[in-house]
């Protein structure tokens, strides 16, 4: 895979990227990198439509969450607006046995894993700790600490190798998501070292959305991020992060490399965070409107819609149906979020040890007695 120059798309940054669908909706059959690796996709008409539906649904649910935050129903929300293609493409490339380690923004990956989108809302509403069964969903907890999940993922991937589950076409692979800002973290660099040295079945998927909160990319790196991989001894490739087809094709290939025992890959999905870092952030304070405008024309959904229209794979009736179905899902999500019960204070002791401990039980009893000492208490 390419450590040198990637092929140049029409709107690519210096050094190029892998692009299979242009912003105008033109399909590029296949792309071969400088290292001679060829990427392409072979989707049926229905699969193209499904990808479109994924993108629209993920964006609509995200918009509903942003509204819920503004209405005081969520404490905070990290919007994925603009990054749908990177997430949906890579998420759809995962096989059921693959394990994903997300950040707090990977709502699109979560959705493509077939998980009920409500799962992370308890965390953002502050009614649970976001602790779901990572093994059941093959989807680790949302990690708030920047970059730490790459170490967890690498350790997990090394474990997969020790279990003898790599080295076959049906082996397991692990994907870790992180952002451009995380590449400056020690943890991410350490995980590169470990994954590289131990040949871990890993895909490092970096969504370079150009900003680490307010810090622009030029303060993170002097070279394109995908080229960092070369120093750690594994391949790096940059993709057009707003192209769901490129995201799918390259991630699928990298995962297959990993599951076949060929070691890790770094994918840099070159994209843009169209919204704020989180609902507590005001991006107009650090970036200019013309820059945001220049990314609007690269929108991941409109290019796929243009493609579907040009190829006569879908018509306005279909698009309206997709919108309506996404709207209903969003309303359903809203109602279920509003219905989430507030936790009882005593439940904070429930998730410390799997089987409790004498000291913890004592603390729980003391706290319950204290709570019960108030009038109107239900304890």
């Amino acid at each position: 895979m390419a450590n040198g120059e990637s092929p140049v798309g029409a709107d690519a940054p210096a050094g190029g990227f892998v692009q299979l669908l242009t912003p105008d909706g033109e399909r590029i059959d296949s792309v071969t990198t400088a290292d001679g690796v060829t990427y392409s996709v072979d989707f049926t008409d229905g699969e193209y439509r499904e990808l479109y539906q994924d993108l629209v649904t993920v964006r609509r649910l995200d918009a509903e969450a942003t509204a819920l935050q503004r209405q005081g129903e969520l404490g905070i929300w990290a919007s994925l607006l603009g990054q749908e293609a990177a997430q949906v493409g890579s998420g759809r490339a995962l096989r059921p046995q693959d394990m994903a380690f997300p950040t707090y923004r990977e709502h699109g990956v979560l959705y493509t894993r077939g998980i009920d989108p409500i799962m992370p809302f308890g965390l953002f509403r502050g009614v649970d700790q976001g602790g779901w069964d990572a093994n059941k969903y093959k989807f680790n907890g949302y990690t708030i600490v920047i970059g730490s999940q790459t170490l967890h993922a690498t350790g997990y991937a090394m474990g997969v190798t020790m279990d003898g589950k790599t080295g076959t076409p049906d082996g397991e692979a692990v994907i870790a998501y992180f952002g451009d800002g995380a590449t400056s973290q020690g943890e991410v660099n350490e995980s590169f070292v470990w994954a590289g040295v131990f040949h871990a079945p890993m895909v490092f998927f970096c969504q370079n959305n150009q900003y680490a909160i307010s810090e622009p990319l030029e303060r993170q790196t002097r070279i394109p991020l995908y080229r960092r991989a070369a120093g750690f001894g594994f391949p790096g490739v940059r993709i057009d992060g707003n192209d769901v087809l490129a995201s799918y094709a390259v991630t699928r290939a990298a995962l297959d490399q990993a599951r076949n025992g060929q070691g890790p890959t770094l994918i840099e999905a070159y994209t843009y965070r169209m919204g704020a870092h989180t609902s507590s952030d005001d991006p107009t304070r650090y970036r200019i409107a013309s820059e945001v405008e220049s990314w609007k024309v690269k929108d991941p959904i409109s290019r796929l819609k243009a493609f579907l229209t040009k190829q006569q794979l879908a018509d306005d009736t279909y698009f309206a149906e997709v919108d309506e179905s996404a709207r209903k899902l969003a309303l359903d999500l809203r109602e279920r979020v509003l219905a989430m019960p507030d936790p009882q204070p005593v439940t904070m002791f429930d998730h410390v040890y799997p089987n409790g401990s004498p000291e913890l039980d004592q603390q729980r009893a003391q706290f319950a007695a204290y709570e019960a000492s108030f009038e109107g208490s239900t304890h």
Binding site: E64, A67, Q69, R70, Q71, G72, E73, G75, I76, A276, S279, S280, D281, D282, T284, R285, Y286, R287, I288, A289, E335, L338, A339, M340, P341, D342, Q344, A372, S373, F374, E375, G376, S377, T378
Partner: protein, 509 residues
């Protein structure tokens, strides 16, 4: 559950306590949809649009644009079922459902139960008074300050988990609002006998028992803890004890002062010096920001200001010649353009004045680019938008940028991005007819130039006294970075350019 729902201002960004209503996007009587943007609110963190939480018809807007509203206060009410016939009158609605003006009622309760049976307590952070949050204990003797409430305070109902059968707001409201004011659990009620000033004798001997936050509160309020009798466990002093002591200590003192003033003033002219002749302006927005920046800068960067009076007759003539050139025919240019150019060229010769003292990293950050700030007086107050990378602009581009910057500032539309990242600023006090000043550095900048009025002045020119166009420049600089020598050289160069721009251009560039 009422079909009229009130939307309270949520905490929009992790720990905010208030927001300013910028613009209402809907008005009373409008039919709105779920998630339709209804209002723009600016908080300390961001200006955001709030989408409607329910569809329906707007029945009331509580605060006009420009008001600063506390988190948890109602801002709009919406009839969620307008098709169901007429709404009860506004008076009965207020009585039944809202009563936001009654201080003891938690604003979060007013919306009634939210969908799904969740009690709609205050979103974001709780009400401000500690007493409203505190639930009464079972079987403990009531503390003096909270003595007497016959019924549980409204907070108790709000803090309890949602009962199986949710009482409607109509049924729960009257008991909460019914108790007359004196029975409200207010921490400081002078009328209560228990609130009498504590005597030193009442305190048991030995060290004072009080938790650190209480000690801090006492220090902040100037209360001597050894003079208070504690009512907490083991005789420890509680927050309420301190607040009570503060209230009883300050009340008589204020009275005395007022009386003495009145006695002194009354016989003379009977002039009134009270609130009726005072205007109280909330400190917020640009004024607040300006104040914070000025204080931060004035008390961290040691300022030095130097002055230079220069003959700018040649600059004024060059300006006239420039105006007649076709390239500059359609742009308004002023001496400020030359001052800006002089600064940009002088910065190139003395880059250190275009730098930042970074205490956090223990570095002086010298910038290769000049984001040239121009102080502008606007209706909203002083703002200092800057021209990004002004050093790269041609003179014509610089003239255009200056014009655009001033026009945008005057129309109040300067985006925040234009106001951040400045590296060197100019304040054009001359437009007010002022000769010069000692400007305060914008935070993060090492120097700022004041450009005074240009006046015809008797001046020694080529050995004779002539009437020349003269102005005074004032340069303030951060003495941590810029020494007197560097500041003087820089100011001398700016002055030198203005005295003879053409010669300076030829010799410097």
């Amino acid at each position: 559950m009422s079909r009229i729902k009130e939307f309270t201002l949520p905490d929009l960004g992790e720990g905010l306590t208030e927001g300013e209503i910028l613009t209402w996007l809907v008005k009373v009587g409008d039919t709105i949809e779920l998630n339709q943007p209804i209002v723009e609110v600016e908080t300390a963190k961001a200006a955001v649009e709030i989408p409607a939480k329910w569809g329906g018809v707007v029945t009331r807007i509580f605060h006009e644009a420009g008001t600063t509203v506390e988190v948890g206060a109602p801002i709009i009410s919406i009839d969620t079922d307008p098709g169901a016939g007429p709404v009860p009158s506004a008076e009965s609605l207020a009585a039944v459902e809202v009563a936001p003006e009654e201080g003891s009622v938690e604003p979060g309760m007013i919306g009634g139960p939210a969908p799904g049976g969740r009690t709609a307590v205050l979103v974001g952070y709780g009400p401000k008074t500690a007493t409203a949050k505190r639930r009464p204990r079972i079987g403990t003797p009531p503390a003096p300050a909270t003595a007497a409430p016959a019924t549980p305070p409204p907070a108790a109902a709000a803090a309890a988990p949602a009962p199986v059968t949710q009482p409607t707001p109509a049924s729960s409201r009257p008991p909460a609002a019914a108790p007359p004011a004196p029975t409200q659990p207010t921490p400081v009620t002078p009328a209560q006998p228990a609130a009498a000033p504590a005597q030193p004798a009442a305190r048991p001997a030995g060290p004072v028992l009080a938790k650190p936050p209480v000690r801090k509160l006492a220090r902040d309020l100037g209360i001597d803890l050894t003079m208070i009798a504690g009512t907490g466990p083991l005789g420890s002093i509680t927050r309420d004890d301190v607040q009570q002591a503060a209230a009883t200590a300050s009340a008589p003192a204020e009275t005395t002062v007022t009386e003495s003033i009145v006695t002194q003033q009354a016989p003379a002219t009977a002039a009134v010096f009270d609130a009726s002749r005072e205007q109280r302006i909330p400190i917020k927005g640009v004024r607040k920001l300006t104040a914070e920046n000025m204080v931060a800068s004035a008390f961290t960067a040691p300022h030095v200001t130097e002055f230079l009076t220069v003959d700018v007759t040649r600059t004024m003539k060059s300006l006239e010649r420039l105006k007649s050139r076709p390239e500059f025919r359609d742009v308004r240019i002023s001496p400020l353009l030359f001052v800006a150019k002089a600064v940009l060229l002088a910065v190139r010769r003395h880059p250190m004045v275009n730098s930042t003292w970074s205490a956090a990293t223990n570095e002086i950050v010298v910038k290769d680019y000049v984001n040239l700030g121009i102080a502008a007086a606007t209706q909203r107050g002083l703002i200092v938008p800057n021209i990004k990378d002004a050093g790269r602009l041609t003179l014509r581009e610089l003239a255009d940028a200056l014009t655009a910057l001033v026009q945008t500032a005057k129309s109040g539309k300067t985006p925040p991005s234009d106001m951040s990242g400045g590296t060197f600023s100019i304040t054009n006090v001359g437009v007010f007819g002022i000769d010069t000043g000692t400007p305060i550095l914008p935070p993060g900048e090492a120097a700022i130039l004041a450009f005074g009025a240009v006046r015809p002045t008797p001046w020694v020119h080529k050995g004779k006294i002539k009437i020349r166009q003269v102005t005074t420049l004032g340069l303030s600089f951060d003495h941590r970075i810029v020494d007197g020598e560097l500041g003087s050289k820089f100011l001398r160069d700016v002055g030198g350019f203005l005295e003879d721009p053409e010669a300076a251009l030829l010799s410097w560039t």
